[in-house]
Structure formats: structure tokens, C-alpha cells
Subunit: 331 residues, 4 copies
């Protein structure tokens, strides 16, 4: 049995892996035509529908970049993971989980049916909109900017630069997200919001508008793969229990109502956003043979053409291909 | 970083671990009063509501047994995992997954609401009753006994003895499972059944009535932890892809509508049955420190007093405690 | 203000009204192409899709017949009204209403969603399948033939001949009505059935297979219009309270999930069946001007091409036209 | 057969009927303890929970008043009927019915489940909140006051005085009706609103806050009983088709999710409000014997203690008693 470690990967040279990934990106770029840009936020329709890019950043120090890796795009639902992490860090895990459950739903991301149907007192999980808005209401601070500060600081620690808002996306988001306002009022009525609804929604729209790159997503995915630790510095940026919990949620609920299929076919914690980003976390693993990135890696993907569930159509397939070839699954 | 291996566990002596587990079983046995015996099948009400037992069987050759480990009980829903495995082995994974999805539902195990609500053409996953009955209909054979044969042969290979049916439970099951007949007719109408409904249900009731022990569950969990391989003989009993898929389903849907919470708090693939059994699979893992059963293990639990979701109330808490102390999580 | 009475209708000669109705039937027969024959019971697909016929039978002794009035067809869901009436006559109204509610649902006739969603202990109303099967279980008798006897005797009293079963339809019904079996098991589980499920379903399939003509439907509608009394003999065939209740149910739930629209646009109690029949009851009414059939009438319609809700497409439009021209509405 | 007319009612003296009604009011006032004041709007909790009053106003000129008939209270959901009438008068019936359906739902008045479940493009009916808010959005005018003007003018014509808003109730309503805001956003997203959401909700909250008395409700009920005509002046205040349609909606959907039971047991079009008012319309009817108010009447009821469905608990029972004794049913 072989444990992933840098020296065992020597034969898997960067160049050799790069060629593979380039081939796969070329192949799956053709799949972008099977999807469509998100249209509910006007700003998102300005993306290049054929774009596809991936960055894999390993604990072994190796980074593979291929395709459209220079794009900047909005983080969208991927921010839900970090809002959850910050809320848990600020308030404690049990405080947060008393107000939002951790069950997958089988429903679309913007479903409200459960709020009525089961007379439940808390939303199903932090990665559907109802749960994410509830989590955002728990962030510390009186204004939306104060509330965002925790997320900004966490991202800055990981990315090495302070993230920026895409103001156009934010405006677009705020103006078009009628359903989120509707969800907000149901949450308000259900009594689960911890802040003023208006400020909560403003924060939520802002957190979704944070500008991000494929490389950022890879870095974020890598930190989570390492249970919240920055292996280069040894600093624990996210408490281990919280990082683990975030990965559980990503695996069971991270890919909207295709989460079950993604778990079955890809098998790693991942979270997608409607701007086309996917962040995936591949923990270190034990295998009989030597495989690339056995020490664990983070993967960032960008492909704004979405499938029906709201996930990057080509990005999902590319990830599945890579995960399958290099046996990324945590199962 | 430390990889689990037998020699590293020397200081974790059997006796030392045994004491721990005995303490925990004693402690959690008191929790059995928080649950109730399943009442929908009369036979199940004859169990000892205060029973609690666990067996942990490691790849390192160590086995810990504690509490009521001599009970024989019916496998119930845990059989769904093996029916799924056999159907995939017989028909191919894609054949099966074309007929049953792999999405968690957030609904109770015997829910039919989705069958109507989403005009879906296939049940949500193989571990809810609707999906399990569909899977059973795909087992090869004309009669219920022929259909069962595949499951029996698989279990025999793993357990080293041919399993038996608990005829009383089967009769009880057949007579009382009205809702499963209702589900059956909806599946028939939806056109997803691959066999006669009567034979399918007969097979389903029989597979749920297979007699099992805590040790059996530990053995079954260990085989799955090892991706289908019997490490002692090197034989691949279940194809790796299918074993992996079974574990994904166990993690996302194995504990009824508490699956999300189980994934969050325990973090390993597991499947429960209403007779009080739980089978859990703990794959080999990499950790900074030396931990028990790092080479991977299977866990069998028995505790017939159930919580509201239908899982062993004390068994679930005991598993959570062990998994947390010894860091079993796959995340 | 004018009260409907025979002598006031003298100028509305039979011939004059006949011409009108003939024109309307000719016109609406073209609408049959907008519908389709019921396909779920093979026998029903043998009907003439372009057939349309109507009979209006007034308390004033006048009868208008137009179009395809010689067809014999199965009563289908219209039987639900008479099963309900017989159950109320046998068991008492409160007995029946303790076991089935009288609320409209807004759902399709064969919906089961409510059975699960609201944890209700009784089906919504006697005119959806779940409620109708429950009502049928309350009919007196041990066998399906004994149970049917009450319905047969009631119909015989009204029609002047003992009705017959269409054995082919019955066989067809029994073999194809999978969903009704599914519903039956859910009712059994809910504990609302008063007889053995098999016998209940056999009775239900038989009652739906009773052979009927347009004239029969007009006669049945007339008796109900007269609150259960046969005006020609003065005999009360159905107790007044029960006849009234049947009309309330027909108005609020009689036309499947188009009942609200039918009430709004036609405004009289009516019940349709998937073989294409409609029975409507027009009670005596007070109007400023002299109008046909002011003393009340029964209307039978036949048009087997159905709309999406399962109502005769041309028949519904024809009824709406007649009701609107002659101001049949009870409102 | 007897047609209701003034001279036939001579023996039914005012005094004689008054005594009956006084007895009944005394009896049913004790039933107020079975209900509770509406609590979701703080202002409503200030009412006298034991109040019960009724006014019956006949076309024969006779008016019976009994119990607490001097109370002034807010019209609440009864305003939905008049908003619907005004929208139909302003925009045309087909315009309105293209945007809101006329189907009963079987769901609670403030349900949103259907909006998601059936992917419907219009709310179920104008008497549930979702439909009522949609109707209000169709009222003419740019501001909420302009929009209200049509309702005010209609009520003024019928009541003989310009109605007033209860400003405290309006403020209370506006501040506490979170769910209605949630519904509003879902309607906005569904694209059915014809005006700005904020103005629509302001109008809706105002229309619900109109001050009304039991006598007002009787007058309003009487006009509807007469198909929109003021019999004393001969003026058609509401077009006949629209008045009829309003009565159909009242019968099928006017008493929240007890509408079916109210139709079955009372049998007349009625609409209730959470402040405790009920307005019922009893059209002229034909009966074998002489009965009170055979020429038709309007009934106003006030009893602020509500049952679980949100209807006046004692008021509903009182109405049922009167309707049953004097055979008010339209069936």
C-alpha cells in the first residue's frame, strides 16, 4: 500500500500531467454547448459560454493550469461555504446548527416547498438559499459591510489578497433576486433570521458578488482538503471540525439537486456557483498504486455554461473525468 | 504524517481499547430508553429494548466485541445495500442507475410524495423503499427464491456461512407491510419494475428477513471499507466501483432522513435497519497521530430501540462517540 | 318575478328548443377533436371520439334529445355519487362523513399527495378516487355483488330497469387500474377502509363498469334536481338531505380539478366520468324572465373525447353554452 | 309549490322570528369559548372574544338584529370579494380570470405550496391571499389610495356612506404581515402582478383595514343575493355576471379550508374575515312550504373568536343553525 508523498510522485512529472489535462480540457470544452449561461442575473449573461479552465494545486507543490484560467468571475453560491465557516467560527458550530439543519433535500436550490410542507423550524441545510440566507443573518456586525468583513478576512488569509466585490454583479443581483426576497420573508416569519432581513439580503447579495479566479478556487479547495490548515505555513486557518463539516455539506448538498450524482461519480466535496465556478477538495488518500496528487489537492474549475441543475456543464464532466482517472474519491 | 499500519498500533492494545469500548457501551446502553422498538412489524416488538452491542473488526486483525453481541436479528433495510450490489453485478451499474437515481431525498424512508410531485420516472435512490423495491425487481431469477439466490451467495462468500431467513419475521413482514404494497403499485404504474410486482415484493420481504448478527455486520462493513476486497485472501468479492458506489449511497442516504446529520457527526458510510442493526464502513485513513483501526475497519452495531427516524437510538450515539474519539470520518 | 311553471313555458315549444339544441350539438361536435379518448382502460379506446349527444329532461314533462343519444357507455366516476348516496342511506350521513371529508382538493382525481402531506386521517372528498374507494368500502354486504346491490336497487328505482355491468370494461378496469390499487393500500394503511381491500376494489371496479345511457344520466340528474323526489310519483327515492349533500359535492368537486371553473362558468351540480358521460342537475329557479326548464331539469351528456382534466371536452362546452343561454346557474 | 314573496310571509312576524334568533344567539354565544381571537395582527387581539351578533336583512323589508350588532371591526378577507368585483368591473372578467384561476385549493389561506408545486402561472383563486394580492394589483390607479378608490366607491353605493380605514389595524397589518410580503415576492417572480409590489401590498393591507359593521355585511350580502341589484331602487350596482361569479367563489372558496364543509352544511355563498365577520348571501328560493326570507336575504355575522380554519367559531355555527332551520341552501 502506498501513501501519497512528494517523492513517490516524481515520475508523474508536471509536464506529463499537464499534457493529459490539456487534452481533457480541449475535449470537454466542446461540451460547453450543452449548457447555457445563467440568465436570471443579467450580468452573468456577459460571460464567454465556451470558456473552460481548471487549476489543480497539490500539497506536493505541483500546480497544473489549463484552459481559461485568467477569467475573473463572481463566487456566487460557493460563498455559502465560507459564510457557513465564518458563522461557525464566530458563533460556534452548535449555535449555527441549532438554526439550520444539515440534511440534503432532493429539491432545487431555491425551493421553498419544505418551509411549508414539513412545518420545520429550520431550513434544510446551509447550501440551499433558504439555509444560506439564514447563515448570513448570523454573521457578526450591524451593517452588511461589517457582516462581510469576516468572510473578507478569511478569504484574504487564504488567498493572500483582499477580495473585491463586482459592483455590477451586486447591483444586478440585488435587482433581480426576487425569489430570494420571497424566501427571506418566509424565513423572517419562521423566526430563524438573526438580523434585519434587509441587511441580511444585502449581505447575501454582496457575498455572492465577490470576484474570484480559478486559482482562488483551487487554493480554497486545498485549504479545505487539509482540514483548514495552510500546509506551507502550518497555520490552522479554519478550525478542523468546521472545515470537516463544510466538506460534509459540500459532498451531500454542494452541487444542487445533482449532489447525489456528483458524490457517486466524482466522490469529492465540491461546491458550484451559477457564474460557472466549482471548488473541489481532494483530501490525501491511500491507494495501492502511485497516483497524481495523492497528498491531496484543491481544484478550481471555471465554465459558465450551466446544466439544468445550475452546475457548470463542461466543468462537471471535466472534474468527473479527472477524478475518475486519478481516483480522487474519498470513498 | 502517519499511515495506519499494524505495527504502529502496538501501543493501542486490544485490552486497552476493549476497556474503552466497554465503558462506552455501558454508558450508551442507558440511552436505549430514549427509543422504541419498531412496531409496524409485530415480530420486531419481541426484541429486548435495552440491548446494545458493537463489534469493530479491523484490517489489522484486531476485533473488539462489547455488549449484546450474541443477538440474532433481521437485516431489514441493510439488505438494500446488498440487493443494490448484486443488481449492479448482475445487470451492470448503468443498467441499474438508469432505473433508480442516486439522490438523497430529505424525506422519510417510506415517502411516496416525490413519485407524484415531480413526475419523475425513477425513484430517488436505492436506499429508500421505492428505490429498493425497484432494485429488487432487477435481481435475476423468475421466483423470489431465485432472485434471492444472488444475495445469499454474496453474503455466504463474505460471512462464510449461508444466511437463513427468519420465517416468522418474513410472515410478519408480508402481512403488515401495506405501505410497501402501495408503493409497489405506484412503481408498477410508473413502469419502473423489471419483474412481476407480487414476486418482487415477496423477494423484498424475504431479503429484509435474513438473519444476521453483529459480527456479520462488522464483516460486511469491513469488506466495503476495503472496496469489496477480502484482505485476508486478496479476493475481490465485490467489484471496486460497485463497492464504492454502495458506500456513497450509504453516506448520503443510509440513515433515513437523518443521513445528513450522521454524515456531519459520524462521517462514515453506514446503513441502518429497523430491527436495530447498523453496518458501518471505515476506510483506511491518513492522520497526523496514531489512531486505532487506521488501516480501516468494519463496525457492526445492534440496538433495537429506535429514534424517530428509525435508526438505533443508542447505536447511533455509540457510533458517533467511537467515530469521534478515533477520528473515523472520511472527510 | 317569474316562477318556472309549465304553463309559462308554452311559448317555448319543444320544436323551437329542439332546433336550438340541434344547432349547438352540431357546432360543439367539431370541438371533439380537441380531446382524446381515455386510454388508461383499453376498453374505453373503442368509443367513437367524435360522438356528442345530450338529453334534457324537464319537470315540465318536456324532453329534448339531440346528437348521439343511443350510445351505451360505462358510468365510471359518476357512480361515485350514487355509491356515496347509498352509503349515506345505509350508514347515516354522519357515519360516512366521519370517514371521508367534503373538501375540494385542487388536485387531480387520482392524487395521493395529500394522503402523505397533511397526515390526514380521512380522504378529502367522496368524488376523488381515494374518497370514493373509502365510500365503497362502507357499502353493506360481504361480497362485491352484495355491496353493489344497494347501488343497483337505487338505480333501478330511478331508471325503471335493473342496470347491467359491462363485463369487458370491468375486466379491463380491473386489470389496468394499478394506481387505484396503490391508493387502496394507502387507505388500508391509513385505516379508513371498512371492508377487505380486495372486495372493496372489486366492488369499485364493478360500480364503474355499470352500463348507462344519456337518458339515464338525464333521469338521474332530474331526481337530484328535485332533492331526491320522483315528481311523477311523489316518491322520495333519495332522502332530501342526502340528495342535497350529493349536489354540494358535485358542484365543488364533481368535475375533477376543473370543478371551480365549471362552477364559475356553468354553475350547476354535475359529475363527469372518463367514458365521456356527464350528469347535471338543474334545480327549479326564479328569474325575472321566462326561461326554458325553469321548473328544473336533469341533463345527460355523452362525448367520450376528454380534455386534460378528464372531462368530456365537447360535452363540457355544450353544457356551458346551454346553461349560459338558459341561465341554469344556481347562484 | 310556493315562491317566496312578502305577503306569504305575513304569519312569520318579525317578533316571532326575532325571538327565535335571540334564543339562537344566546345559545351559540357560549360556543365562543371554543375559539380564539386572531393573534397575528396585534390590533385584533383587542376585540371582545365573547361577542356574537347577527343581522338578517330580507328582500321582504324585514330586518332581524340580535346580539352584538353595534361593533365596528375590520373587513379583512371579506374585502377580497369586493376587490375582485371592482377588478372585474374595471378590467373585464376575462382579463382578471386570465391572471387568477377560480379553483378551490384544499390548502390553508396563506399557502404557497402550490405556487411551487405545480409550476402554475396563476394563483388558484381570488379568495386565497396569493390570488387576492394578484387581484389587488389589477385595481386601477397609481397609488394605493387611487387603487382603493374603486372599492370605496362601490361600498359607498351599497352602504350609503363612505367607509373609513381603521388606521391602527392598517399599521398593525402592515407591520406584521410578513408572510404576505413573502407571497408578494413569489407572485412578482411568477410575473402575475400588474402593479408595483410595494403599492399592491399597501393597497391590500388598506383594503383589509376597512371598518365595517354587522349591518354593512348584511347589506353587502343582500346585494349579492340579488345578483348585484339594489331592489329598493332597481339600480344594478354590480353587473349580474360578476355578482354571480363572486358568489361561486364565495361558495367554493369563501370559508378558507372549511369551504367544502360550509357548502355542505350551510349551503350558501359566504365569506369570512379574521376579525370575526361573515357575510352570507341567500338568493330567493322555491320551496314547498312557506319559510322566512324566501325572497332572499343578506346575513351579517360578527364573532371574533375564530376556529382553527380562521372562521368565526360561534358565527359559523349560528349561521349553520339558521340556514338549516329556514332552509337557506341554494342546492
Amino acid at each position: 500500500m502506498v501513501q501519497g508523498s512528494t517523492n513517490l510522485n516524481t515520475e508523474l512529472t508536471q509536464e506529463w500531467l499537464q499534457n493529459y489535462v490539456d487534452d481533457w480540457v480541449r475535449f470537454y470544452r466542446k461540451h460547453t454547448v450543452d449548457g447555457e449561461l445563467a440568465s436570471y442575473i443579467p450580468q452573468l449573461t456577459k460571460a464567454d459560454p465556451n470558456a473552460l479552465g481548471v487549476i489543480i494545486m497539490g500539497n506536493n507543490g505541483m500546480t497544473i493550469k489549463s484552459g481559461d484560467v485568467d477569467a475573473t468571475f463572481s463566487i456566487q453560491s460557493i460563498s455559502k461555504v465560507f459564510a457557513f465557516i465564518v458563522a461557525c467560527m464566530d458563533r460556534g458550530v452548535s449555535y449555527v446548527l441549532n438554526r439550520v439543519d444539515v440534511e440534503p433535500t432532493g429539491h432545487a436550490f431555491n425551493s421553498i416547498i419544505h418551509l411549508e410542507m414539513r412545518k420545520i423550524e429550520k431550513p434544510f441545510n446551509p447550501l440551499i438559499n433558504a439555509g444560506a440566507i439564514t447563515v448570513t443573518s448570523m454573521l457578526q456586525g450591524r451593517t452588511s459591510d461589517e457582516k462581510l468583513e469576516g468572510i473578507f478576512q478569511l478569504l484574504e488569509k487564504i488567498l493572500g489578497r483582499r477580495p473585491e466585490l463586482d459592483v455590477d454583479v451586486y447591483e444586478s443581483e440585488r435587482e433581480s433576486s426576487i425569489r430570494n426576497r420571497g424566501i427571506g420573508y418566509f424565513l423572517l416569519e419562521a423566526g430563524v433570521l438573526e438580523s434585519d432581513l434587509g441587511i441580511t439580503l444585502e449581505t447575501y447579495f454582496k457575498q455572492c458578488s465577490i470576484k474570484i479566479t480559478v486559482e482562488d478556487l483551487a487554493k480554497l479547495g486545498l485549504i479545505l482538503a487539509n482540514d483548514g490548515m495552510d500546509k506551507t505555513t502550518g497555520e490552522e486557518i479554519i478550525p478542523r471540525q468546521i472545515a470537516r463539516l463544510a466538506k460534509v455539506l459540500m459532498l451531500t448538498c454542494g452541487m444542487y439537486d445533482a449532489s447525489g450524482k456528483f458524490a457517486a461519480y466524482v466522490g469529492v466535496p465540491a461546491k458550484s456557483g451559477v457564474a460557472g465556478g466549482i471548488m473541489a477538495s481532494v483530501p490525501p488518500r491511500i491507494r495501492e498504486e502511485v497516483l497524481p496528487f495523492m497528498d491531496g489537492c484543491g481544484v478550481g474549475v471555471y465554465g459558465p455554461a450551466l446544466d439544468e441543475q445550475g452546475n457548470s456543464v463542461a466543468g462537471t464532466r471535466l472534474l468527473r473525468h479527472i477524478a475518475s482517472h486519478w481516483d480522487f474519491s474519498i470513498f
